[in-house]
């Protein structure tokens, strides 16, 4: 199957049309010689404002690598990534740190919270580091949206896995970042806790105008998104708008049938 390039290449950015984040010819190569792995192979990608994008693909296809490179956690071998109109390769460590702190939100699969801080302190951590006072009204609405008002004084060890992930989501959103990146945020959760985290992310997109990029293996989770990007061998191989769990599953079975997907999960 030929890789499908659905994103419009190099459209001049207009005020309304500037993507929240975009990547051009993103290439990431690990190791050299025998152990050389091309984790990303000239990927072009746009993440539009107010859109919820899911990234799917087999294990080792480069999903995490793509997110890390877009979020300034990892450096590219070649190509360029932008957050808004800031090019990441132009920033030094301090610039990248600032960018992550002020303009990006993160949710990892696990270990998102500092054990010594309470839930509320974890939520406001990036702003505390920056020395900024959080916007109280916004913080309130975020806390209400994750439904953790009664748990704000608890430490992570006193929260369930689902609650911890919701606290992590609240932290990612509390600073009104330009983009939220979430790498398998529901990977460790049962379906009910997962659903509450996902609906929270979708709400933040629909009602608060957030931009969210999420990696997942779960077709049901992908169905919460506005569109799904499919990755294989470091390339974007397909894209689906308005996904439903069945369509995503079918699409992935098609990959399987084509022998492109060896294992999932």
């Amino acid at each position: 199957m030929t890789p499908v390039q659905q994103t419009s290449p190099a459209v001049p950015a207009t005020a309304a049309g500037t993507p929240a984040a975009r990547g051009r010819a993103l290439t990431k190569v690990y190791g050299r010689g025998d152990t050389r792995v091309t984790a990303l192979d000239a990927v072009d990608v746009d993440f539009r404002h107010g859109e919820f994008t899911a990234i799917m693909g087999p294990s080792g296809s480069g999903k995490s690598t793509l997110m890390h490179c877009m979020a300034g956690l990892d450096s590219l071998t070649s190509g360029s990534a932008w957050i808004g109109d800031t090019e990441l390769s132009a920033l030094d460590d301090r610039g990248l740190t600032r960018l992550r702190r002020d303009r990006i939100g993160f949710v990892f699969q696990a270990f998102n919270l500092l054990p010594t801080l309470t839930a509320l302190e974890n939520i406001t951590l990036p702003m505390d580091i920056a020395g900024r006072t959080p916007d109280a009204a916004w913080l309130d609405s975020v806390v209400d949206a994750v439904g953790l008002r009664s748990r704000l004084g608890h430490r992570p060890a006193e929260l369930s896995g689902g609650q911890q992930q919701r606290v992590a989501c609240a932290r990612a959103l509390a600073g009104r970042p330009q983009v939220v990146f979430a790498d398998e945020p529901t990977g460790n959760l049962d379906s009910r806790s997962g659903a509450s985290v996902l609906s929270f992310l979708r709400t933040s997109v629909r009602e608060m105008g957030q931009t969210v990029v999420m990696v997942t293996h779960d077709p049901a989770a992908a169905s919460y998104a506005d569109r799904v990007l499919f990755l294989a061998d470091g390339r974007i191989v397909d894209e689906m708008a308005a996904p439903t769990a069945e369509r995503v599953l079918d699409r992935m079975k098609a990959f399987d049938a084509a022998g492109r997907i060896v294992e999932v999960g």
């Binding site: 890390h68 956690l73 990892d74 460590d93 301090r94 740190t97 600032r98 992550r100 702190r101 002020d102 993160f106 990892f108 696990a110 270990f111 998102n112 919270l113 500092l114 054990p115 010594t116 801080l117 302190e121 951590l125 990036p126 505390d128 580091i129 920056a130 020395g131 060890a157 932290r171 460790n188």
Partner: protein, 843 residues
Amino acid sequence: MRRATLRSLLAHKLRLALSAVAIVLGVAFVAGTMIFTDTLDRTFTDLFESTASDVAVTPEGGAEGIDGPAGTLSVPGTLVGQVRAVDGVAAAEGYVQAQGVYLLTPAGEVLDTGGAPGIGISWTSAPGLDTGELTAGRAPERAGEVALDSGSAEEAGYAVGDRVTLLTPGPRVEATVVGVFTFGEDGGLAGASLTAFDVATAQQLTGVGDGFSGIQVAAAEDVSHDELADRVVAAVGDGYTVQTAQQQADEQSAALEEGLSFITVLLTAFAVIALFVGSFIILNTFSMLVAQRTRELALLRALGAGRGQVTRSVLLEAVVLGVVGATVGLAGGFGIATGLRALFGTFGLTLDGDLVLSADTVVWSYAVGVLVTVLAAWVPARRAARTPPVAAMRDDHVAVERSLRRRTAFGVALVAVAAGALAGSVAAGDSGHAPALVGVGGLALVLGAVALSPVLARPVVRVLGAPLPRLAGTAGRLARDNAQRNPRRTAATASALMVGLTLVTGFGVLGASANASVDALVDDTVRADYVVSTAVGQPFTPEVADRLRQLPEVDAVLQQRFTQVRVDGQSTFAAAVDATTLDRGLALEYVAGGSDGLAGRGLLVDETTAAERGWEVGDTVAAESAGGQPTELTVGGVYAANQAVGSMVLSLDTDAALGGPALDRYVYVVLADGTDAAAARAALETVVDAYPVVGLKDRDEFAGEQKAQVDQVLLLINALLVLSVLIAVLGIVNTLAMSVLERTREIGLLRAVGMDRRQLRRTVRLEAVLISVYGAVLGLGLGLVLGVGLTRALADQGITELVVPGGQLAGFLVLGALIGVVAAVWPARRAARLQVLDAIATA
């Protein structure tokens, strides 16, 4: 299982290195102290054993070794003949030995002995009684000839045939060097200089008349030393001490040990502290090592390893580390011993020859290294074995916090014991038990504090860290939280610094109090304008006083000597002074009678002695000394205890009648009214400058000189303590580095959500500062209690004032904070260097 253990050891090279450092430090300190103590011991033991004669006869109460007040007692010349006549005596010779004989360098300056005595001796060359071994020239045979010990000859640059000038308690002496000799096996004199004269000259110079300091006896082949000693006792009768070679060496060693006991006690204390502190670091390190490996160990358990196997695997790791650490530590011990030798060298205690490595040292080093490591690993190993296999599956295994209740109870009990002992020491007054009680109390207090430290860590750190969030934002808050996170670890890390600072503070208080007491003593007791004395209170010629007395600027001169007499059957030290000028030079506070009570054969005693012996003014007591006539003394006055004169005061006349040598220790000078101060000083100096061993001091300078001695001792103690503080620093570095490793994921997370490297470094640094300040605060508190207790306990030793050196203590607190900053440098840099992604990926 064994393979898994060794693999795991190698897989964590950094952790391995950090835990090994802890062991190396602990062992190096213990080994270094032991090597140095052995070297010290060897130097003196060799000296004594190789120089003692088969049997020696000395005046009773006078055999005090080379450091004693030689020359104050003597045996009559006629006694030599009596001893020679004893059956079994191969040879017997009288000898003379006296302090205060100094060699001048070609430049005309006193040869620097670094505070060790300059000793004059008579040369004896009867078979078996050689004074020393001549390495060049011959023995001195007549007036105007001397032999020098090889060390002094070399240092001053003299050889056989040179003309030399010597300062003696009597007049200056010009002589020709006819020989150079070594004394003892290594020629080691621990810095002292020896000048040998012929017997007649020595007798004349040291003022023993035709008597001797003692008689050396060589035994015939067919008689044992003990047997011969018994026969000699029978021949000479009472009033003399007769000792075999063994007894002499033992006694001299004992006397020396007493003289050096302060150093030995100090060194042993440091070895114990080092061990203590080292064990803490090792325990800390192993606890963390095991905690970090919980998942790995749990995985082994899940795969079917039994509890015993897991425990053994951790213990095996400890043994391997212990052996490696002890070996490196032993080598490090040589470094420390070399450092100590250099340090003591700067204080005049020169130790020649190689460092001594005894079997004891090796055994202890390995015992400490391996046993302490294994013990330290035992607790965490047991805990590790108890980790449920399921911990392997769980993402973040939270170590269960064990209750501190047992520790609290134990700590409180120890503190109660300490309080009891300290209270007892105050109650004990001057019964002599006070210092021991303070020692017990201090030890119990420190141990109690160590036990309670984890309990105190949370509340105290919370208070100390309260301003941090405001001052340093998130970095401050995280630092405070991290320092409170594991109170046991915080406490163990801080305890090294705590113990060190407890001692520094305690001695600081004692030293400041001692100095203040010197000031008070000089202020209250010395009325004279100037004092003339040698730097260490050694005897010098009365010519100085005679010449000063003749100056028109001088109104009164008070000579002071020290003498040993038997009064009413008990041998004691007494001061001998000019009866007529006593009150001009010194202010004694009389309870009964006064200085006129010295007239005739008068005796003044201090209150305590008067009470002890039941003496009152007007009582007569018997006094005798081996050198002179027995005399009746009349108690003529009682004074309040005074450090300047001690417990009894005689007149110079009485002292002379009792056979005391005519040598002054202190000369007090009172200027005539209305003399110009500068001119008077210049006049005094022209006299004093002619005697290089003595110096002229005004009251402030005199006090300063006494205080300099206190300061020197303090400096020595503090130099040693620097080492323990160094260990404390490395302990903090170690703990922090481990903490950073342990928190790799947290650090990654912080970096991911926007904490920059500088903020991260600051977080680690502030945590270190909090921990070290916590240790410093505890140390200062304990040190204060200990210092005050010690000062109180030593009140009757002349430390009458109690001073808390506030500025110095504040300095220690700042030092504590600085130690934290320094200790954090490397761990903080490591934390900041972590790559964000690697950190997040670390399981």
